[in-house]
């Protein structure tokens, strides 16, 4: 049942993936700037330029280029980065783990914080506590991750220098890890000091990503939770003699989460998209940072590869959300 659902969803995502690939391919190919001109020393002969164009396949027609690129991509070869002169695949694989750790860390913060806000707001309904949570979520929602990043950097990095504001790990620390999932590996190996330094570096960028999402989750979940609290089954639970906490957490929260998951779904993809800018601001060595440099350098193979990676992440997120939605909602599982 679940397997079939996943397969069916993946199949439906295929046209989206193809559409993204075609669109990006065409888009970057009509960029006026010539990538070759940017990578060679001034004074190179026209012959040299022509040779390089041939090397990267830029002298062919766009459909031809696409066919060649797509054929290789299917075999796992996304070409070579023009500006960094390394295989796109190895560049992405080297940087992806840090972005994933950042995104997952931010998501966990956002869900925990958002749920806490929603439950607190509903528990203190009609009192000062509710007004305070409403104001907090309203403010956090109006401020985008870009400004949160700068604010956090300014406050916790400069005015009260508590946390590092650039990089992933202190340059003096050499963990000597085998994988690139530093935080996961540090935790598994019990390297507390390294894990602590990683978390310290992660905290500000993750918070910048998490706060708008947390506010969104908080607001949506609070309103759906408040609506659930008006349902007759909640009244019946009260009349059965259960405590308010037990009713909120044991009866209403799960049902309230169902609309909240579908309403906040888009925001999760915004979080992943947000890593592009946040990594740039915090000089965090992930694929987002790589992507902005790639665009500024007109590094076509790298741009294509990275955008496909992002599209794939979005598809996986949406699939995950669908599964969570189905798991929460018995109506979709049975009958």
């Amino acid at each position: 049942m679940i397997v079939r659902q996943v397969l069916s969803r993946l199949l439906q995502a295929l046209p989206t993936l193809v559409g993204v690939a075609v669109l990006v391919f065409v888009l970057v190919r009509v960029v006026p700037g010539d990538p070759i001109a940017m990578m060679i020393a001034p004074g190179a002969s026209p012959d040299d330029i022509a040779r390089l164009r041939g090397l990267y396949g830029l002298d062919r027609s766009i459909p031809e280029q696409f066919a060649i690129w797509a054929g290789r991509a299917l075999a796992g070869d996304f070409g070579t980065s023009i500006s960094l002169r390394q295989s796109v695949m190895s560049l992405v694989l080297a940087r992806l783990p840090s972005t994933l750790e950042l995104a997952v860390f931010a998501t966990v913060i956002a869900i925990a914080l958002g749920t806490a806000l929603a439950v607190f707001g509903v528990r203190h309904r009609g009192r000062l506590g509710e007004a305070a949570t409403d104001a907090a979520t309203g403010f956090a929602l109006s401020v985008p991750d870009f400004i949160w990043a700068l604010l956090l950097m300014l406050v916790f990095g400069v005015l009260a220098p508590l946390l590092p504001i650039s990089g992933r790990l202190d340059p003096s620390v050499d963990p000597g890890f085998v994988t690139r999932f530093y935080l996961v590996e540090a935790l598994l190996r019990g390297r507390v000091a390294v894990a602590g330094d990683l978390v310290a570096h992660l905290l500000l960028p993750a918070l910048a990503l998490a706060l708008p999402l947390a506010a969104m989750i908080g607001r949506v979940l609070k309103s759906s939770l408040a609506e659930e609290m008006l349902q007759d089954y909640v009244m019946l639970a009260r009349v059965k003699g259960f405590s308010r906490w037990r009713i909120i957490l044991g009866e209403a929260l799960r049902n309230a989460a169902i609309p909240a998951v579908s309403l906040t779904g888009v925001q999760f993809t915004f979080l992943v998209g947000g890593t592009v800018l946040i990594e740039k601001i915090f000089s965090f060595p992930g694929i987002g940072n790589l992507a902005i440099d790639a665009v500024i350098n007109r590094d076509l193979p790298l741009i294509q590869g990275l955008i496909l990676v992002f599209a794939l992440m979005f598809i996986v997120i949406n699939l995950g959300l669908d599964l969570v939605y189905a798991a929460l909602n018995p109506r979709l599982r049975h009958g």
Binding site: Q231, M235, V239, K240, G241, F242, S243, N255, P330
Partner: protein
């Protein structure tokens, strides 16, 4: 013996507008008392006051609600939690929204027994099966495994009735329990409630807008409007000879398939005006 004794109960919104005016009614052991009126008459407010779940904007201003001799007015939440579910239970109006859509029937039936009777999961399940048999559900084992959306409206209402009788309460509040149901299902549910009530000797406060339902299942009745009880007495007496003009008007406004078309008439404005004047006089005489 008296199970419920509501004496001189008044309630008002925070702004001061009264919603209940000097409501008194007594329910003896094993008695079914019908509380009838139009929407906004205050009948649900009485039910909620007994259950201690008045809306946040409503406050009791006078009177007592004595349950088995003990006044519930001013009882704290903890005290109510010990009482509700065990000694006082509710049959709700809407069988669709009164069951939690994401919990199986078994969990929703057994939780109240485990809380109040201290039963083990197994013992509670066994008792749930007995109760489902009592409400004449054919395959109780299967129903326990189901989610609410997999049951019909009538089945859900049977489950809710089983839940209300789970801890052998002395008093059940039935809040329009058949309003959302089709007429044939309504008959089944009413027959069932009446049967269980007789066997268990439970007292019921039966809130409804339907005079027909009162006639079929209640022994005594109160007619309410504008938060006041206008007439009270044995159902047989009131059906035979309604004493209050409003009660007579209510009968005349209820369409019947066995009466000529011309017999139907809305409640006359004069009757409503008289009641409004009485309400005003009450409010003036006793400022809140």
């Amino acid at each position: 013996m008296t199970v419920l004794d509501i004496a001189g109960l008044s309630a008002a919104l925070h702004g001061g507008r009264p919603v209940l005016r000097d409501v008194s009614l007594v329910i003896g052991e094993g008695e079914v008392h019908g509380l009838v009126g139009m929407s906004g008459a205050g009948k649900s407010m009485v039910a909620r006051a007994v259950l201690g779940i008045l809306p946040a904007a409503v406050r009791l201003t006078a009177g007592a609600i004595r349950f088995q001799g003990r006044d519930l007015v001013g009882l704290d939440e903890r005290g109510y939690r010990r009482l509700l579910g065990r000694d006082i239970a509710l049959i709700p109006q809407d069988p669709l929204s009164a069951l939690n859509p994401s919990r199986r029937i078994e969990a929703q039936m057994t939780d109240v027994m485990r809380l109040h009777l201290g039963l083990s999961a197994r013992a509670a399940r066994d008792r749930a099966l007995v109760l489902l048999n009592e409400v004449r559900i054919r395959d109780p084992e299967a129903v326990l495994r189901r989610y609410p959306h997999e049951l019909s409206g009538g089945m859900r209402q049977r489950v809710l009735i089983a839940i209300s009788f789970a801890c052998e309460p002395r008093l059940i509040i039935a809040d329009e329990p058949t309003t959302a149901l089709d007429v044939t299902v309504q008959q089944q549910i009413l027959v069932m409630i009446r049967g269980l009530q007789r066997r268990h000797g439970t007292a019921i406060l039966f809130v409804t807008h339907d005079l027909g339902v009162v006639a079929k299942v209640c022994g005594r009745m109160s007619v309410m409007h504008e938060g006041m009880v206008l007439e009270q007495g044995a159902v047989a007496d009131i059906m035979a000879a309604p004493g209050h003009a409003f009660t007579r008007a209510l009968f005349a406004a209820t369409p019947r398939y066995d009466r000529p078309v011309e017999a139907l008439a809305p409640v006359p404005a004069a009757v409503l005006a008289d009641i409004a004047a009485a309400a005003q006089a009450f409010d003036a005489g006793r400022p809140c």
